[in-house]
């Protein structure tokens, strides 16, 4: 079997699974018709669930229609509680980008230091081991108290959760640079700074990028939760706001969009990783 036919068959199976899921969903939330007679005024209060036997859960068609509505008008702004989903995603992405880039600026130099110096590796290890397992959201109250700005606090939470995978991978990548390459630099009398940039950085780049890829995934997971806490803007806030509006259709739509954006972020980092990876 050629690989192209494998891809084709896999795609076929994916489509079939998707269709089966949609069908099951559609059947599962289908209304059962009028269940009981009641006073029309009372029926208005009770809503369709009680009067028509319709499930409170929206069906795939409702979600599809809502999704289409959002995709057609992603950037409208009708005030603080009614912004297009594109604007909300842009807020989230901007926060992730800010916190993440800050983490890159801190993690890579410190990772280099740890990877190149056994002293710092040992000295900083206990701090990293204790700080790493802390849920990033646990920092939120402290951040709100010290920074006194909810949006900046969210960025700080993203920073702290992106830091560890990058730091650990950078340190590992730097420490694991092949000895022969370092020996090449030594026999060529290459100075420390030039060696760091021309030998260690390119040699460790694939490992560093892998850490950055893990970090962006975690950052995107955390931003939703962080925005639910801080509120105001962002896709996490949108999800919580729509839950308060009891608009399950919007919640499901947002969930889908979060997944797609997360996938795109991962794809970008995967591409970058491939750019710096050279087989021997």
């Amino acid at each position: 079997m050629t690989s192209s036919s494998l891809t084709l068959r896999a795609a076929l199976v994916s489509i079939l699974l998707f269709a089966a899921f949609i069908l099951a969903w559609h059947l599962g939330v289908r209304g059962t018709g009028a269940v009981q007679q009641m006073d029309p005024e009372y029926a208005k209060l009770m809503g369709l669930t009680a009067t028509q036997g319709k499930s409170a859960m929206p069906g795939p068609l409702d979600v599809g229609a809502k999704l289409w509505e959002h995709v057609r008008r992603p950037f409208y702004d009708n005030g603080p509680n009614d912004k297009g989903v594109g604007i909300q995603l842009a807020f989230s992405i901007a926060r992730v980008a800010a916190g993440y880039l800050l983490a890159v600026l801190v993690a890579i130099p410190i990772g280099f230091l740890i990877g190149m110096s056994p002293l710092f590796s040992k000295a900083l290890d206990p701090f990293i081991q204790v700080l790493k397992p802390i849920s990033p959201l646990a920092w939120m109250p402290l951040a709100l108290y010290t920074i006194k700005d909810s949006s900046l606090s969210a960025i700080f939470v993203i920073f702290i959760c992106s830091l560890w995978p990058m730091l650990i991978n950078t340190a590992f990548g730097v420490a694991a640079v092949r000895k022969e390459w370092l020996n090449v630099a030594r026999t060529l009398e290459v100075g420390t700074l030039r060696r760091a940039f021309t030998i260690i950085l390119p040699a460790a780049a694939p490992t560093i990028l892998t850490g950055m890829r893990i970090s962006i995934g975690i950052a995107w997971l955390v931003i939703v939760a962080a925005e639910m806490l801080v509120g105001g803007t962002g896709i996490g806030y949108f999800v919580w706001n729509e839950w308060n509006n009891l608009s399950i259709t919007n919640v499901i739509t947002a969930i889908l969009l979060i997944g797609v954006v997360g996938m795109l972020l991962d794809l970008i980092l995967a591409r970058l990783t491939r750019l710096v990876t050279f087989p021997e």
């Binding site: 092949r178 022969e180 390459w181 020996n183 090449v184 030594r186 026999t187 060529l188 009398e189 290459v190 021309t198 030998i199 390119p202 040699a203 780049a205 710096v276 050279f278 087989p279 021997e280």
Partner: protein, 289 residues
Amino acid sequence: MDKFISIEGIAKRYGATTIFQDLWLSVPRGGFTCVIGHSGCGKTTVLNILAGLDSPSAGVVIVDDQAIEGPSLDRAVIFQSHALLPWRTVMGNVAYAVSSRWRRHSRDQIQRQAQKFIDLVGLTGAEGKRPAELSGGMKQRVGIARALSIEPKIMLMDEPFSALDALTRGTLQDEVRRICRTTGQTVFMITHDVDEAIYLADRIVLMTNGPDAKLAEIVDNPLPKERARADIHRHPLYYAVRNHIIDFLVTRSKSFAQEGRAHDPRAVPLVRPGIIANQSPPDASARVA
């Protein structure tokens, strides 16, 4: 004798284990010296000490009247595993060495110098390729070009051809011999391969098994400077030399300590297999101290 490289009483110890000690050897300018011995005898350690990548537990190495203190651009190393930087092209790898040697050179000068040596090893046209796109032999050619491009005083080679197939190895040996002959390069090479040593070297140093390895003998290669791979085996002394080395590797490298001969590590005997044996009883080994 001209002592361009002078190894003076070096030792290497790891804790209580002595890999070797009291090693003395001198190499003349322009000479091609091969060290042959079994794995674990410390050959690579000797080469790393010469390169400055390792330091001896005792003793010094003097090159061109200067004691070695760490690696130097005067001593280029060709690594067994070629050690090319996979993210750089052929040109990039050689240019990296050139720009390390001449930091103030312009891009253009660096490229020209690199190109010269890429041409010399026969890689013209492959400048833009990355190591992953090259065969094992081509990679090692890049390694040779990189080492030569910095115009070192000494080339140190650590089993440079051992990872190559026989055919490629032969071609590369021819190339190395041609290049070293034309440039008058001083070469110190480590090998496992008896034929390679005889074809390339002027002098072959025989090292006994470790631990506590010794330089047993230096075989003076009787082959003429102008030699061709095709007919070295027709030289009247070729088999005498070859058999002498193989005997050494098979039996004497293990039993050397029990041979009971007085061995002065400061004056390793220079032997010429076949030359005196013709006039002496067969069991007397051919030796001229």
